[in-house]
């Protein structure tokens, strides 16, 4: 059984939104090596998003294309986790562009990366052969992403007083958004029912193991989370996604069909 298109779009939107967000560091990284690393990671995410949008477009048929799916859907049609659209500004810094906080970037990459190695690992065995092929490639990349992020989480957490403070603040700030991973959505339920999707809730124990172990090594405390659960994957987003899409989609919408 093939995975439903909405499920493929959920995976694609996650990848493209984080890829676009992290690409904001390009030319502004805290050090040259990290500038290059983040650009590489973004390139992988955008590559994964392209494969997924191409697959979705093929399955939708008609005049659907990867570009139409990425550039001509509006905010409420995007099915990405809210976590991935948040700006890089952590709670301890201001809201100007120059106030980007690398600890926030890294902790987000870590929390999402720990999920995606498990999701791609599960999807690699999907009977949906096209999705399984994308998952097999993406898993190799996701492992590097997780390795990179986890190393920096430990370095920041178990680093200086300032880096520890910022890393803990980022963990406290972002952790509540991970609750969205474990709630169900129609697209995910349909994919799991079809036998083609990953049942994310069954991956929670493994995710906890990765996260808890890394936070412990980083001397960071996992916060108690309760309260509001974000609903980005249902199309209800924070105010930040609109600005992100505005930048990402502006050129394609101002010059439809433009090539160079």
């Amino acid at each position: 059984m093939n995975a439903p298109v909405d499920y493929i779009l959920h995976l694609a939107d996650n990848a493209v939104v984080l890829g676009q967000r992290n690409a904001e560091w390009c030319g502004h990284g805290p050090i040259l090596e990290e500038d290059i690393a983040l650009a590489n990671v973004s390139l992988d995410h955008i590559g994964q998003a392209r494969l997924l949008y191409q697959l979705a477009a093929t399955r939708m048929g008609g005049d659907a294309t990867e570009d139409k799916l990425a550039y001509f859907r509006d905010e409420t049609q995007f099915r990405n986790y809210t976590l991935l659209e948040l700006p890089h500004n952590g709670p301890l810094v201001g809201y100007a562009v120059s106030d980007r906080d690398y600890a926030t970037t890294i902790v987000r990459n870590f929390l999402y990366g720990a999920l995606m190695v498990l999701v791609w690992d599960a999807l690699e065995k999907s009977p949906d052969a096209d999705l399984a092929a994308i998952a097999a490639k993406s898993l190799k990349e996701a492992r590097y992403h997780l390795h990179h992020a986890a190393d920096w989480v430990v370095r920041f957490g178990d680093g200086t007083e300032e880096s520890h403070k910022r890393a803990q603040a980022a963990v406290d700030h972002l952790f509540p958004y991970t609750e969205e991973f474990w709630t169900s959505s129609a697209a995910e339920d349909a994919a799991v029912a079809a036998g083609a999707g990953a049942d994310v809730r069954s991956l929670r124990a493994a995710w906890d193991a990765i996260v808890n172990e890394t936070l412990a090594e980083a001397t960071l405390v996992r916060p108690q989370v309760r309260g509001y659960v974000p609903e980005g994957k249902h199309g209800r987003h924070s105010e930040h996604l609109g600005y992100l899409l505005g930048e990402m989609q502006g050129l394609a919408r101002a010059h439809p069909g433009a090539t160079w």
């Binding site: 990290e34 390139l43 590559g47 720990a114 052969a129 096209d130 092929a133 490639k137 492992r143 990765i210």
Partner: protein, 166 residues
Amino acid sequence: MSTVVERVWATLEHLTDPEIPVVTLRELGILRDVTETPDGVEVIITPTYTGCPAMGQIEDDVKASLLQAGIPARVVTRLAPAWTTDWMSDEAKEKLRVYGIAPPHTTRPDVSVVKFMRHRPAPDEVACPRCGSTHTVVSSQFGSTACKALYKCLDCQEPFDYFKPY
């Protein structure tokens, strides 16, 4: 009298990676197969990294070479089985080393995802492609292209690229 399939292989043999011009697409495993189908000859290529910007150039190079040789063939991109650096021949690895890029170690596919974190393996012992010393450190897991990491030799002090096992 060579078959059209053999002619395609021979035509594409000189094509190298746009970013690593010492190894051919065949040696890298990007040029996967050439087959004769009822619809004509198919050239199968496979992407390295999903977002590798060189893939567009590679596809264009393959098409241009075939066009120039007057061989009608279609280029098909296939994802599965996923490309791995394990497909690289020893000869290709040696070419990389001479070019200044430390060749990839064999991948460790048996390492499960969770185990990957819990017992994070020690970083690969990477030999400096210039002086051969294994007294090297990783400067960054991501280098100038998606497929490489940045290393530094602590003996000859040279920074160098390491082709990541993938």
